[in-house]
């Protein structure tokens, strides 16, 4: 993994206040990035189950896509989210959540990214996200 890519990822994670608000961090193994959303009570949407808030999970997966893009395109501004489709597969429990992103296509203007989130077992994802992101390499 090139230093510039890691610096770009660090800058994204540290500069975006909302990343800190959610408490998200990432782990890198070579060029493979796993995003981690450590459990906090403030992420709960349904206190009776209890279950993670669907919006918090969606936001975490969107940020995972943006973090993966920041690794792939060092030095660019944070891409703008054009649209996202979130599929919820299982209820998110009151525990840590992980996510990985696949860059299905990174074009000059737009990127298509697919993210999957899981808790106990990666083979049993709790949610998925597909999103389109506007790349901003043409802007000053």
């Amino acid at each position: 993994m090139e230093d510039t890519a890691i610096q770009s990822l660090d800058a994204f994670l540290q500069k975006v206040p909302y990343v800190r608000f959610l408490g998200m961090r990432v782990e890198l193994a070579g060029d493979e990035m796993t995003a981690v959303l450590p459990f906090q009570r403030t992420l709960i949407g349904n206190p009776i189950l209890p279950a993670l808030h669907g919006g918090a999970l969606g936001a975490f997966m969107e940020l995972t896509a943006l973090a993966q893009l920041s690794l792939a395109q060092p030095g660019q501004r944070v891409p703008k989210t054009i649209d996202i489709t979130i599929e919820y597969l299982r209820s998110g429990r009151a525990q840590d959540t992980y996510a990985r992103a696949i860059l299905r296509k990174v074009g000059r203007r737009v990127a298509n990214v697919q993210v999957e989130a899981w808790q106990d077992s990666r083979a049993q994802p709790i949610a998925g996200l597909t999103g389109h992101f506007l790349m901003r390499n043409e802007e000053p």
């Binding site: 500069k15 975006v16 206040p17 909302y18 800190r20 608000f21 959610l22 009570r41 403030t42 992420l43 709960i44 949407g45 349904n46 206190p47 009776i48 189950l49 993670l52 808030h53 669907g54 919006g55 918090a56 969606g58 936001a59 975490f60 969107e62 940020l63 501004r77 944070v78 703008k80 989210t81 054009i82 649209d83 996202i84 489709t85 979130i86 599929e87 919820y88 209820s91 429990r93």
Partner: protein, 146 residues
């Protein structure tokens, strides 16, 4: 503070810890429709260069408001679960400005609820996002293992 199970529906929607952490507030609710707001706060910013609120906050606001619309359509707070949620971000919100969302649960079957939502920052007619969602209704809590 009243008990979660006995509080009026809109109050219970606000008792979700994540809604509370984001500072969501209830604007209005009627059968099948709900309006809620997310305030602008420094810690919710997604683009530090412009001070625009994170799209993730809009996602959480829309998801929550859709849940409110479904529950108000059903007239009770039964357990529901989001199946899918599609959001188009039409434009960034204005810098240092909160967002308001309105959701309409326009069709309920015995098992599934369909919802549309719109979000804006300043003017109701000048949208920042539109959304479409489907919810499973009457999901029962599974006992948690371990």
């Amino acid at each position: 503070m009243s008990d979660f199970n006995t509080a009026p529906l809109p109050e219970r929607m606000l008792m979700a810890p994540h809604a509370d952490a984001l500072g969501l507030s209830l604007v209005s609710v009627e059968k099948g429709r709900g309006v809620m707001s997310a305030p602008w706060r420094e810690e919710l910013v997604g683009d530090p260069e412009t001070g625009v609120i994170a799209s993730g906050v809009v996602t959480a606001l829309i998801d929550h408001t859709c849940g409110l619309a479904i529950n108000s359509a059903m007239g009770e707070l039964t357990p529901i679960a989001t199946l899918d949620l599609r959001i188009d971000y039409l434009r960034p919100a204005a810098p240092r400005t909160g967002v308001t969302a309105e959701a309409h649960a326009y069709r309920l079957t015995r098992t599934v609820g369909f919802v549309r939502a719109e979000a804006w920052d300043v003017e109701r007619g000048d949208l920042v996002a539109t959304a479409q969602a489907a919810f499973m209704l009457n999901t029962r809590a599974q006992p948690l293992k371990g």
